[in-house]
Symmetry: C2
Subunit: 303 residues, 2 copies
């Protein structure tokens, strides 16, 4: 265990690094305003939970000998997963999907730049994620770069995030049971959260022995994230949440709260937190303080 | 030179392989109808020009010793680039972009499945392209897989196809000159056509010495493709072309024909063909018959 771990200082330092990297890597010079829309979608907003998970997992599996190339790989993976998350929000907010006009307290990308530009910016952000993972930087081991591409593509695609969104789309007005709802979220939000943890664990010369424990941690965290989201959609207000509230009920979308009720949902989130922490306890990893603190943050957040 | 090259037989054999691979790799089982929309967008249609370019370039740079792993890499690259092309068409056809209802003689994806499903299917096809390039197949050299990911991401993103689409979007009703028009198409269509040729050349154990010649070939071909597209948009009919005609003029979009006139555009396409063939002549490569025939096909096609 890490004594005297200062989560606030840890987070502040990593957020600074991630923001600077995104500022550098999301191109201002992309043609015809495309760069502006891409940067608007990514910069200056967001909790950066996925990048923090990548970096925390990388630190948990790191050898005691520093390795700048693997740190660079982890930073690239952290930014790449955030680009995938950002593109999914841009497309999700469009009129043909959730038709949301407010995101992180700002007008959504299609409101600000128009629908066509939002569509293209999302598409270009997805490509940019894979560009970040494949730099002209020969110091990062080729096998690590390839593993990151492989993991991110699968977490994003039909068997991951996009598949979960398709289930979500098909589930409006449909009575899902709890198992079906969990399956939807396991893909829709869970795949990328789980992917974040495993991308961090991929930034090692050897596949991490603690991989199954990290997967258990990540899967519990992914479901917990969505349960808490559903709770906040009911109990919070737009100013705190930074986005439209009560939309799921208005859209007749099934949620954990609509199926389990508010109090059982809250208790379920705490159970999942306990599962995630227990997985870390049994992982054999010693530097898990950041992963533990992130799990607490996900479950006990208010926005 | 290859004596007695039978282009028709060459094409038929490769198309069969590509169609079977796409049939296998574009997942029917993706959740909630997502697979149906993805397969509708990709299967049973299209000239497969980009996959043919990948395979022709791979054959041009191949060693005399057969290499099944590199053949597999080329087939994966051929399908991946077609998935990127297919996703771009799905998104391009959407109401917020070109609002097209007819593609390859069939209703477009959003007409058939709805806009939200079309948006998601396009997103999932882009991810699938990178999944195809990163299989759990350890026989393909890791460095080759990584080079393919790197090349495809750049050809698709803000400095490639998506960037060109952004210029296209911004150019409606704007008086572009010939150089600006060429720059737009160098990205919008050219980047992926050029990428196809270079993806094929990447499927080799050593970077191909003929790389610069192949790039010259591919760049000339990319522009020629668009010049011919603009000519066909004016002179063809919907039945031959399989899509709505005269849309560029109706949308007040600049084209090679609107800037150069019809006859100069036709002559320009032939000049570009000559440039492409000359680059192959000077490449030092001996098995270029398929690349030569494909260039002829692009310039002298009628749909």
């Amino acid at each position: 265990m890490q004594a005297n771990f200062d989560f606030q200082a840890w987070t502040a330092a990593r957020l600074l690094t991630v923001e600077q990297a995104l500022e550098r890597w999301v191109p201002a010079q992309a043609p015809a305003g495309l760069g502006d829309a891409m940067r608007y979608a990514v910069l200056d907003g967001g909790k950066r939970l996925r990048p923090l998970l990548v970096l925390a997992a990388r630190e948990a599996v790191a050898q005691s000998v520093p390795d700048a190339a693997l740190d660079e790989a982890a930073l690239r993976a952290a930014c790449a997963v955030e680009l995938i998350h950002a593109y999914s929000l841009v497309h999700d907010d469009m009129p043909c999907m959730d038709n949301d006009v407010l995101r992180r307290g700002k007008p959504t990308v299609h409101v600000k730049f128009g629908e066509a530009a939002a569509l293209l910016a999302g598409d270009a952000l997805q490509a940019l994620a894979f560009e970040l993972l494949t730099p002209d930087d020969t110091s990062i081991p080729v096998a690590v770069q390839l593993r990151l591409c492989q993991r991110l593509a699968r977490a994003s695609g039909h068997a991951g995030m996009a598949g979960g969104q398709a289930i979500d789309l098909a589930s409006v007005g449909v009575a899902l049971n709890e198992a079906q709802l969990r399956q939807m979220h396991r893909l829709k939000t869970g795949a990328l959260l789980e992917g974040s943890v495993l991308l961090g664990a991929d930034c090692a010369l050897q596949p991490a022995a603690a991989w199954p424990a990290l997967q258990t941690y990540a899967q519990a965290l992914g479901i917990a994230f969505q349960v808490v989201d559903d709770v906040l959609d009911v109990v919070s207000d737009a100013a705190t949440l930074g986005k439209t509230v009560g939309k799921d009920a208005a859209n007749d979308k099934p949620t954990f709260v609509s199926i389990m009720g508010l109090e059982r949902s809250r208790a379920y989130a705490q159970e999942l937190l306990a599962q995630a922490l227990q997985a870390l306890d049994q992982s054999g990893l010693t530097r898990t303080a950041a992963l533990r603190a992130l799990a607490h943050m996900v479950v006990n957040r208010n926005n």
